[in-house]
């Protein structure tokens, strides 16, 4: 059944939400959870559903993504037929690269035409969840839907610039779609989490129609306008979902990984694949004090680390105290340093005896490769 679907992942959409972390990379390649990139969750969900062909739509800044994905072998997607297929922007003399999702889809109609799978699973990279895509496809088939959109119930006020909510009937069919409605502290909304299943030929038809009529927004021009005629169904995902749409959310959701239940849900039942780096196991020295932290491979810890996420190859020197912080790959923290509520990007160097602090609501961010 799963071979009846091809995957499409948008790597750049939502980049503007986290400018700090997407300045040098795509949304898809933002590091997450100690040894992952955001795309690993979307890709692993697809691979675990038996999908063997995934097109990755890119626009700009995709060097780090190419480096991460390589041939796709770490996801078992180095295939003769299919596997990971990178879809960089297509433009000729008269065109510029796409500026919205519809144009991006138009750019990959060649890819979609050449596949023979019945369905397309489209996913963005802004969410961390363990979603059984095979079950979503089965639901899509059972409902005879044209499009099945995965949603997650969000309680309270949603402070996002763009989001979609649904109202559904008892059967799960979407009766109305609202774009960025007003939400309050008491409201509960089924929010679309940017994963959909759509019949491939149906999708190609939509794209062609949109191109001839000059439409630009998949949400506004197509879904909301044709909600009565299209068979749109909502698949309600009830598990843990972390939407990463700001640096605050990034920090907050990252820290949730220190909760065993959340870790078990994300990593326990099935594998999350990622690029392998062949780092040594992490070394804890005699002077190390480590509490409530996730530590990746290749770290060397000589100081105190509490409530932290350390990525691969991080060094924490003697006498340093690092609390409530996220330290990305190969960053080096000297000795006598104090960090609280700090996010360092990759390859940051914090020299001896520096003291830096942010707060939970506004973590102090240090850009890639900086030396403090």
């Amino acid at each position: 059944m799963a071979n009846s679907a091809v995957g499409v992942i948008f790597s750049n959409i939502h980049d503007e939400n986290i400018p700090e972390l997407s300045r040098h990379r795509t949304m898809a390649s933002i590091p997450y959870g100690g040894r992952y990139r955001l795309i690993d969750f979307a890709l692993s969900n697809m691979v675990n559903a038996g999908i063997t062909t995934v097109g990755v739509v890119t626009k700009y800044n995709y060097q780090s993504l190419l480096d991460h994905l390589g041939s796709g072998k770490d996801w078992d997607l180095a295939r003769k037929d299919g596997g990971i297929i990178l879809l960089p922007p297509y433009s000729d003399e008269t065109d510029t690269p796409y500026s919205n999702r519809l144009e991006a889809l138009k750019g990959i109609t060649g890819f979609l035409n050449h596949r023979n799978e019945e369905y397309v699973v489209i996913s963005d990279c802004d969410g961390i969840a363990h979603i059984d895509i095979a079950d979503v496809i089965a639901y899509h088939e059972a409902k005879g839907a044209d499009i099945t959109m995965v949603c997650h119930e969000e309680a309270g006020k949603i402070d996002q610039s763009y989001f979609m909510t649904f109202a559904t009937d008892e059967d799960g069919r979407i009766g109305s779609i609202k774009i960025s409605p007003k939400t309050t502290a008491n409201s509960k909304n089924d929010v679309y989490i940017n994963i959909m299943v759509i019949n491939r030929e149906y999708l190609i038809g939509i794209i062609q129609d949109a191109v001839t009529r000059g439409l630009s927004s998949f949400g506004k021009d197509i879904l909301t306008k044709h909600v009565d005629t299209m068979k749109l169904y909502a698949y309600k995902f009830g598990g843990y979902y972390a939407g990463v749409n700001s640096i605050q959310k990034y920090y907050q959701h990252s820290m949730e990984l220190l909760d065993k239940n959340i870790r078990d849900e994300l990593f326990g039942a099935r594998d999350i694949y990622t690029k392998v780096r062949d780092s040594a196991p992490s070394k804890y020295s005699d002077s190390a004090v480590v509490k409530n932290s996730l530590i990746s491979d290749g770290c060397v810890i000589e100081g105190t680390v509490e409530n932290c996420i350390l990525f691969r190859g991080v060094k924490v020197g003697k006498g340093s105290v690092v609390k409530n912080s996220i330290v990305m790959q190969d960053s080096v923290i000297g000795s006598g340093v104090e960090l609280d509520s700090v996010i360092t990007d990759k390859n940051v160097v914090i020299r001896d005896r520096r003291h830096l602090a942010g707060c939970a609501e506004l973590p102090y961010f240090i850009g890639k490769g900086r030396m403090i």
Binding site: R35, P281, K283, D286, I295, I309
Partner: protein, 398 residues
């Protein structure tokens, strides 16, 4: 033009490793876990790829299943190649005869066709029993410079241990005038590391002759090397002075694991200039809990540590519950130490469960030796496993 490889490596991985007892009940010695995420065979394989040797035959015989699965297509070591790469060579049935590999030389002899396919100038013979980092390219360079027919890597060992090794007696220029296999009264302390580079044509010639000799035990150290020396072939030693450790016994395997610990470890597996490649576990970062104490330890991905871990090496997905204590020990993948249990001076193999309140092993100072627990067994709640005890079945205590 016929493609060729300058140097092909042949890795002898058939050994049972019977002195590792319960750790090799179902697996070959080269597949034994080491240093958290590694297997012994990762070291020679990584040395090969780091030395630019991309064609490796791995000769297996004893319990090859797990080793074969581990090596797979060789991709973790970058040894999945269209021409060359890593190949598992098992004993096979031929038209005229079929036989198990009888000795080290016979194992290589039976795979002559494999080597000849690559038309090599040189053949590197390795074993899968040692932990070390070595640049075989430098050794090959020395082999070419001396114009030797055979070069043997050698290391100085303490004189009192020399009688356990094959000893090389050499001239000042490093040429070998005598080869003594485990001599009672060694003349030198220069021990053969079991790493040989042969000029391929000579190797093939002497393997043919050795096979035809009914009195030969088909062993490199006992038969082929002495035969070459007697015939006046040029044989040189190649001095190696780095870390080199046989992990063929329980105590040496434990010691080698401990050599990885410390701020200035005796042996560094984290050297970015000489990466040790391995098949990586699919696991999230390790989690160290609120009540945990972790000191002087090596911990791998997927571990969940809520208890105390001191002077120890943990492979992937090991669970140490709150109130459990692990000291001076090596725990392999998936081992579980439940609340209130204590593991001291022990080696615990994969997926073995130590129930609450159990005590495994005794302090090193007690002098009773290392306790060893085999794979997939359960040590019952409150049970006591004495120092030096080796268990390969569930144990509920006396």
């Amino acid at each position: 033009m016929q493609r060729k490889k300058e140097c092909v490596a042949m890795l002898l991985a058939g050994g049972q490793g019977s002195r590792l007892y319960a750790l090799t009940t179902n697996i070959a010695k080269p597949a034994v876990s080491f240093g958290g995420k590694y297997r012994i065979i990762d070291f020679p394989l990584s040395n090969c790829i780091n030395s630019g040797i991309d064609t490796v035959g791995v000769l297996t015989q004893y319990e090859p299943l797990e080793l074969n699965e581990y090596i797979g297509n060789g991709q973790p070591w970058d040894l999945d190649r269209a021409f060359g790469g890593v190949h598992i060579l098992s004993p096979y049935q031929a038209k005229k005869k079929s036989s198990w590999f009888e000795g080290t030389a016979n194992a290589i002899y039976q795979n002559m066709t494999f080597m000849q396919k690559y038309n090599p100038e040189y053949v590197l013979i390795l074993s899968g029993d040692h932990i070390y980092k070595m640049d075989y390219a430098a050794m090959l360079k020395a082999h070419k410079a001396t114009g030797a027919d055979c070069t043997i890597a050698a290391i100085e060992v303490p004189m009192k241990e020399a009688s356990r090794f094959g000893i090389l007696n050499t001239n000042e220029d490093g040429s070998i005038y005598q080869f003594e296999e485990k001599p009672k009264q060694p003349k030198s302390n220069l021990a053969s590391m079991g790493i040989y580079i042969f000029t391929a044509s000579k190797l093939f010639k002497y393997l043919e002759e050795d096979d035809a000799n009914p009195n030969s035990s088909k062993d490199f150290g006992k038969d082929v090397l002495p035969a070459m020396l007697n015939a006046g072939e040029k044989m040189y030693s190649y001095r190696f002075s780095g870390y080199w450790k046989d992990v063929g016994t329980i105590s040496s395997l434990w010691e080698a694991n401990m050599d990885l610990l410390g701020d200035e470890p005796t042996f560094d597996v984290g050297d970015p200039d000489w990466k040790i490649h391995s098949r990586n576990p699919l696991a999230p970062p390790e989690y160290i809990g609120d009540k945990a104490h972790v000191n002087n330890a090596l911990i791998s991905l997927g571990c969940e540590v809520e208890g105390t871990v001191v002077n120890s090496v943990l492979s992937s997905n090991v669970v140490i519950e709150e109130g459990a204590e692990v000291v001076d020990s090596v725990l392999m993948a998936g081992a579980v130490v439940k609340s209130g249990a204590k593991v001291v001076y022990s080696i615990v193999d994969e997926n073995t469960v130590i129930e609450g309140g159990a005590v495994v092993g005794e302090d090193k100072e007690a002098g009773n030796g290392i306790a060893v627990l085999g794979r997939n067994i359960t040590i019952g709640s409150g049970a006591k496993v004495a120092g030096g005890q080796i268990l390969d079945k569930d144990y509920k205590g006396e």
